[in-house]
């Protein structure tokens, strides 16, 4: 897994909280910085793809590991 600048553990949270928390964490970050998000909501896979397309923040990686979903998002 690539390096990241900040981490957000959204485990146990359901829609739309992982997206809302991610947005909140990304806001003060600088362009080019990378946020690592951990989630357990299976819906978050499609949601982070859609979030990335609509906000322009690049989804660099999306994978499942040990029942958890991991996302790397680069702030635009």
């Amino acid at each position: 897994m690539a390096d990241f600048d900040q981490e957000l553990d959204a485990s146990g949270l359901n829609c739309p909280l992982p997206i809302l928390r991610a947005k909140k964490t990304l806001t003060p970050m600088e362009t080019g910085q990378i946020l690592h998000i951990i989630a357990t909501d299976p819906g978050s896979v499609k949601d982070f793809e859609a979030f990335s397309r609509q906000t322009g923040n690049e989804l660099m990686e999306s994978r499942e590991e040990g029942g958890k979903f991991h996302f790397l998002i680069k702030k635009a």
Binding site: G12, N14, P16, L17, F51
Partner: protein, 159 residues
């Protein structure tokens, strides 16, 4: 890219129906939408400082109930005293167990994200509601005010 706009009318005052306006509005703001919710009639309950919203199985054959009660429990008995508060307690517990946000939290997130919350002045007068019972930071206005924004919106929802 020009900012998209979402306009929502919230008309329902039950625990279950309180979720869609706040979920959609908070998510839309996270996606960069400029968002407004116009609360009218029973929807005004969603602006109260102390939310005491309930769910009812009455008149709702689609509501899943514990122990498959929706399949065999006589509809008339769902009107018994205490049923509504029992269903509400169970629903709240289920939501907490599943990591669903509380309404207070979603509403706060909406306000932080600068979603504009507008209370229908006519309804406030009609039901003699006390503005002191409502949360701070809301606007009181009428239908024309809603259309000013809704007319320019990309998405307009009636909930």
């Amino acid at each position: 890219m020009q900012e998209k706009k979402l306009a929502i009318i919230a008309t329902k005052g039950s625990l279950d129906w309180a979720y869609p306006p706040f979920i959609l509005a908070s998510t839309a703001s996270a996606l960069g939408y400029d968002t407004e919710i116009f609360f009218t009639f029973y929807g005004l309950q969603l602006l109260k400082k102390n939310l005491s919203l309930e769910v009812t199985p009455l008149g709702n054959p689609g509501m899943p109930m514990p122990m498959n009660m929706d399949k065999w429990f006589p509809v008339m008995l769902t009107a018994l005293p205490g049923m509504q508060s029992m269903m509400t307690t169970m629903m709240k517990k289920k939501m907490a167990d599943k990591g669903v946000a509380s309404l207070e939290e979603l509403r706060e997130l909406c306000q932080e994200a600068e979603v504009r919350l507008i209370a229908c002045q006519m309804t406030v007068d009609l039901f003699d509601m006390n503005p002191g019972d409502f949360i701070d930071g809301i606007e009181y206005a009428g239908a024309a005010r809603f259309f000013e924004f809704a007319g320019e919106s990309d998405i307009c929802l009636y909930i």
